[in-house]
């Protein structure tokens, strides 16, 4: 059989034959994108990494079901979204406070200090951390479908059609979800958009 032109599909065909190197290559290509999606959906880095691992274990387990006719990233993000939804449902059923959560007096601080490699001063880093926390908070408050549509929209590889497949809705619905999500974010983040608090790190703004 001829190898498919899509490199991901070719790798998946090898995974179907039990090729672990191909599986490793798929992880190298896509783990970061899946982790980003899960991290910004759940707001928890450790959980995002665990779920990313589960996504790839699921990919390996279900490799036999993969058809070359389906775009690999669409299939991958469908699995990621399903696992993410399960996690959100589990959280809704068993709300729990993390032992790592900051004490109440520090609740205003960012939920998690993300290692910052940018060569900025401490004030800039603080501003960036605060802004990141605000954006994450605004994202978390969006309805799940709007948030997922927006986060997938950031992935350069995914078209509107792909996002519609992942969400199981129409193309028009995807466009509407993205539009509504962006409108809500613009309202929520208006002070940051206007005052240009991002400017120390981003001179374009």
């Amino acid at each position: 059989m001829a190898e498919p032109a899509d490199p991901d599909a070719a790798l998946m065909l090898r995974v179907q034959r039990g090729d672990r190197r191909a599986f490793e290559a798929l992880m190298t290509r896509h783990a970061q994108a899946v982790a980003n999606f899960l991290y910004h959906s759940l707001g928890d880095a450790a959980e995002a990494e665990d779920l990313t691992q589960n996504v790839f274990l699921q990919v390996y387990k279900s490799a036999a079901r993969y058809r070359v006719t389906a775009k690999f990233t669409t299939w991958l993000f469908t699995i990621a979204r399903n696992l993410c939804l399960n996690e959100l449902r589990r959280r809704a059923r068993h709300p729990a406070h993390s032992l790592d959560a900051p004490p109440p007096e520090q609740e205003e601080a960012p939920a998690r200090a993300v290692p910052d490699t940018r060569p900025d001063g401490p004030v800039d880093t603080l501003l960036l951390n605060e802004l990141e926390a605000k954006i994450q908070e605004a994202l978390s408050d969006l309805p799940e479908t709007q948030r997922t549509a927006l986060l997938l929209y950031r992935e350069q590889d995914l078209s509107y059609e792909d996002i519609a497949t992942v969400l199981g809705c129409s193309l028009t619905a995807v466009k509407s979800l993205i539009h509504r999500g962006r409108e809500t974010l613009k309202q929520r983040l208006k002070p940051y958009l206007r005052t240009g608090e991002w400017s120390p790190a981003d001179p374009q703004l």
Binding site: M27, A31, Q32, E132, R154, L193
Partner: protein, 170 residues
């Protein structure tokens, strides 16, 4: 591939920050088509930059290694809860064939059930005939049943005293 044109650049600007060349091309296009400039264009661009600047998820450098180890642990785990051979075999089927197989299995199951019901009914009928045949000797003569309807519609209550009735008729 052609460079993206005005509307595509507008669309792209919502997806990711544009490169300086793309930005210049979009600005030039918007200058020629001012009606296409969204009302809150500056906010749109700013939001795109904010979203693009979100930090990536911190992922362990040993992520792939850890995942392969987890895969090995799962493979080594006892088969309890893992899909059996037949499920893995079934997983290799096209969904349409899986549905077709399920429909055939359902049809066979329904046919078998129908056949067994029919056989059970026949057996029950045969048994009834056998019992009736055995009792046939004890049954009253068919002529005795000629007035069955009349007897059935006799009024309820105590039966008449036949001796007193006979005396009265005398």
């Amino acid at each position: 591939m052609n460079a993206p044109q005005g509307p595509q650049l507008l669309e792209l600007a919502r997806r990711r920050p544009l490169s300086p060349a793309e930005r210049a091309a979009l600005d030039a296009w918007l200058a020629r088509h001012p009606e296409a400039r969204p009302a809150d264009w500056a906010d749109e661009l700013a939001l795109t930059r904010l979203l693009a600047a979100l930090p990536p998820a911190p992922l362990s450098p040993r992520f792939a290694e850890n995942t392969l180890a987890a895969l090995d642990r799962r493979a080594a785990a006892p088969a309890v809860g893992r899909p059996g051979v037949w499920r893995r075999w079934l997983a290799g089927w096209q969904p349409v064939w899986r549905w077709a197989g399920a429909v055939v299995l359902l049809a066979v199951a329904l046919g078998s059930w129908e056949f067994l019901q029919h056989r059970r009914e026949q057996a029950r009928l045969a048994e009834s005939i056998r019992v009736v045949s055995a009792l046939a000797g004890d049954l009253p003569d068919a002529a005795a049943l000629a007035e069955f309807e009349v007897v059935l519609h006799l009024p309820d209550g105590p039966l008449p005293d036949l001796e007193a009735l006979a005396r009265a008729l005398e």
